[in-house]
């Protein structure tokens, strides 16, 4: 059925111009969006040397080496493209100036002289997994991952809890000043975050939360977007259900916890996705609050790969991939709620 859907055409049985345009448009979009990601994934498996190579290759390729009789170290293989030995595949013994001394692996006794411009390295597809293992062995990836995960999970739980309570009150209780409170919350969306930066830092510093994950968590948990999203969704929950629960001896807390919260699940899922993405990808605020490396989140750790003089690209890329993975998984699991949650929180 899905195949029928995919191969459906506007023209009867053949490709119409709109079909061509659609396919071209969609493939361009796929290329633009996934091309860079794919390149990063492939590059993360390249050795540092392969990364520096110009022109760059798409696939991670590594030079082939062979062990040749009479030599202790494995020798790198080259293909000779010009000169006397053109077409042969030779192993390089050593390089002297512009000339390279090579041997034929089949005939190790005879030494051959080849100009270095007349040979290209033989390469094969090889994954430089050491980029990844080094993260764990040398760069303390586990600690940064734990820091990021802790901040993301805890901040998301608190965000969902606080925002849903605020949304519940704003959508289901009649009280004086309800509209004003709501408008004030929404109005904070208009203040650029950079303006808040210093005041919030002062508060966080005053509370002694600098260099603590809580310094990242607390300022982030109250989000106007979340309150708005949940409130709009909760407005669609019929009041009769709440009244029915009250008649069923439910306290207001129970009405919230057993009735309103479960029924808001689609909107909550959307907020969870947003919150996870925000917290996981957040960079500026953790950079300000967390200055000791044992408190770094993954984003800060990534940043620290980039030194003033040199950058460890291979490890940086590997860590980038590992950083992307969890959030991709969260999105894959919860994405079906995004459209329903956003769609139904907007209308009605």
């Amino acid at each position: 059925m899905s195949l029928g859907f995919l191969t459906r055409t506007r023209g009867r049985g053949r490709f119409d111009i709109t079909d061509w345009l659609t396919w071209i448009y969609l493939f361009t979009a796929i290329f633009l969006m996934f091309g860079p990601v794919l390149w990063v994934v492939l590059s993360s498996f390249k050795t540092e040397a392969a990364l520096q190579e110009y022109p760059p290759t798409l696939l991670p390729l590594a030079p082939i080496t062979v062990s040749v009789e009479g030599y202790e170290e494995p020798l790198q293989l080259f293909r000779v493209i010009a000169g006397e030995h053109e077409g042969k595949v030779l192993a390089q013994v050593r390089r002297i100036g512009l000339m390279s001394q090579m041997v034929d692996p089949a005939n190790p006794a005879e030494k051959l002289q080849v100009n270095i411009n007349d040979r290209v390295p033989e390469r094969e597809f090889a994954l430089a997994l050491e980029n990844y293992t080094a993260l764990f062995d040398r760069f303390n990836f586990g600690l940064y991952f734990w820091n990021s995960a802790f901040i993301t999970v805890v901040a998301t739980i608190i965000t969902v809890l606080f925002n849903s309570m605020a949304a519940f009150a704003l959508s289901k209780y009649q009280f004086r000043g309800r509209t004003i409170v709501f408008v004030l919350i929404i109005a904070t969306l208009m203040i650029p975050p950079t303006i808040n930066l210093i005041p919030i830092y002062l508060v966080v510093a005053e509370l002694g939360l600098v260099n603590s994950p809580w310094g990242v968590i607390w300022p982030a948990v109250a989000t106007p977007t979340g309150v708005f999203l949940l409130r709009q969704y909760m407005l669609t929950i019929p009041d009769d259900l709440l009244d029915a629960a009250r008649m069923d001896h439910a306290s207001e807390w129970k009405v919230y916890w057993r009735i309103v919260l479960p029924l808001s699940a689609p909107a909550l899922a959307v907020l969870v996705i947003f919150s996870v993405m925000w917290r996981w990808n957040e960079f500026l605020w953790p950079l300000i609050v967390l200055s000791r490396s044992e408190n770094f989140t993954l984003q800060l750790a990534l940043n620290s790969f980039q030194g003033e003089l040199q950058t460890a690209w291979s490890n940086l890329l590997a860590m980038t991939i590992l950083t992307l993975l969890p959030i991709t998984l969260v999105f894959a699991v919860l994405q079906k709620y995004v459209t329903t949650g956003i769609a139904s929180s907007g209308v009605k």
Partner: protein
């Protein structure tokens, strides 16, 4: 089991007064129906009894105890909503058990009560389904079941049948009545459908614009409506009204004349009336004798033959519309002229200025 007493109950929404000082006493085990046109405050009154609306003024007592300040969750009443209001994320069983869990009923007792109620309402076979998998009638049963398991002091019904189709409504009507007979609880039932009110109630409370117009048994309201509003509201089709002026008041009979000079007699108490007073003569469609040789001439505009009953929609020469109900079938056809007789012992008379009824001295049905 409870006696519900309302004393000078008032409800204000901002500056508008929705309920204007209602006094009412509902006896233990009574089936009381609040009826009235939409916007008359009947649902508000019910929600105030339930505790879902605050009482602005006056006192509400359950078994003699003031409960104004108690929350809905503490009053021990159960309510069935028009929209059923079943918790969509819970199964039928969880829906029924929710209230009992909240008052920390032991697990096995919850199970016993839920199973009992499910058996009584014949919803056992879908206890594990979600509400959206049920039909309207089944949902209604579950909603009633949710009230039944709680064994409440008073059952409150807020137009529970208005979302059902006609046939199901008749069935559920019977079931709620038999439920009341079986359980014997006090029940308060809100409806705008006077047929529901007439068929189910021990006591009907007719409301209009936040004021009680009349309280009585169904037949009291039918036979002795205190005013024109109640007379028009109770009974289907509506009572016919003819503008008249009082011609003579003679102890047991009041003679009136319409604009064309036709004279009618009504067997009502004439006190307070004098010759020349404007009044309205009322007669129910069931009581209009039509098709005989005497009476006043009317034109039959439309006719509905249901086989067992016939309804004739007639017009008098002066334009007043009259509806007549005849048992069985009739040879009268659309466009025919016919003669209608207002029998004095079946006629009602209302003062034009206040709408109040003159007391009827003979009740036609009793004869």
């Amino acid at each position: 089991m409870a006696v519900v007493e309302l004393e000078k109950i008032v409800k204000d929404y901002g500056t508008t007064r929705a309920i204007q000082g209602v006094d009412l006493r509902i006896e233990n085990g009574e089936f009381c129906v609040f009826v009235g046109p939409s916007g008359c405050g009947k649902s508000t009154l019910l929600r105030m009894i339930a505790g879902l609306e605050e009482i602005t003024n006056g006192e509400l007592r359950l078994d003699g105890q003031r409960v104004n300040e108690q929350r809905a969750s503490q009053r021990g009443l159960a309510m069935v909503f028009q929209t059923y209001a079943l918790y969509p994320h819970m199964t039928v069983r969880q829906n029924l058990a929710f209230g009992l869990e909240n008052i920390k009923t032991p697990k096995d007792e919850i199970k016993a009560r839920v199973d009992g109620a499910a058996k009584m309402l014949q919803i056992e076979s879908y206890l594990d389904r979600k509400p959206k998998q049920l039909s309207g009638g089944q949902r209604q049963r579950v909603a009633i079941g949710r009230a039944v398991v709680r064994e409440p002091r008073v059952f409150l019904f807020d137009e529970p049948l208005s979302n059902l189709d006609a046939e199901l409504r008749v069935t559920m009507r019977g079931e709620i009545s038999s439920l009341h007979r079986r359980l014997g609880n006090t029940m308060i039932y809100v409806t705008h459908d006077q047929v529901e009110a007439m068929t189910m109630a021990d006591k009907i409370v007719v409301l209009r614009a936040g004021v009680i117009e009349q309280v009585g048994t169904p037949l009291e309201l039918y036979n002795r409506p205190v005013n024109q509003f109640v007379a028009g509201f109770i009974g289907s089709p509506r009572m016919n009204f003819v503008d008249v002026t009082v011609d003579a008041v003679d102890g047991e009979v009041v003679t009136v004349k319409d604009a064309n000079g036709h004279a009618y007699r009504a067997a009502v108490d004439g006190s307070g009336l004098a010759k020349g007073d404007a009044a309205q003569l009322g007669i129910r469609p069931d009581h209009l004798d039509i098709g005989g040789a005497d009476g006043h001439e009317v034109t039959v505009n439309a006719i509905e033959q249901l086989g067992g009953d016939s309804y004739l929609y007639c017009e008098r020469p002066d334009g007043t519309k009259l509806t007549a109900h005849i048992a069985g079938q009739t040879p009268i056809k659309r466009g025919d002229k016919a003669r209608a007789v207002f029998r004095p012992e079946l006629s009602h008379l209302f003062r034009k200025d206040t709408g109040l009824a003159q007391k009827r001295l003979k009740i036609g049905e009793a004869v």
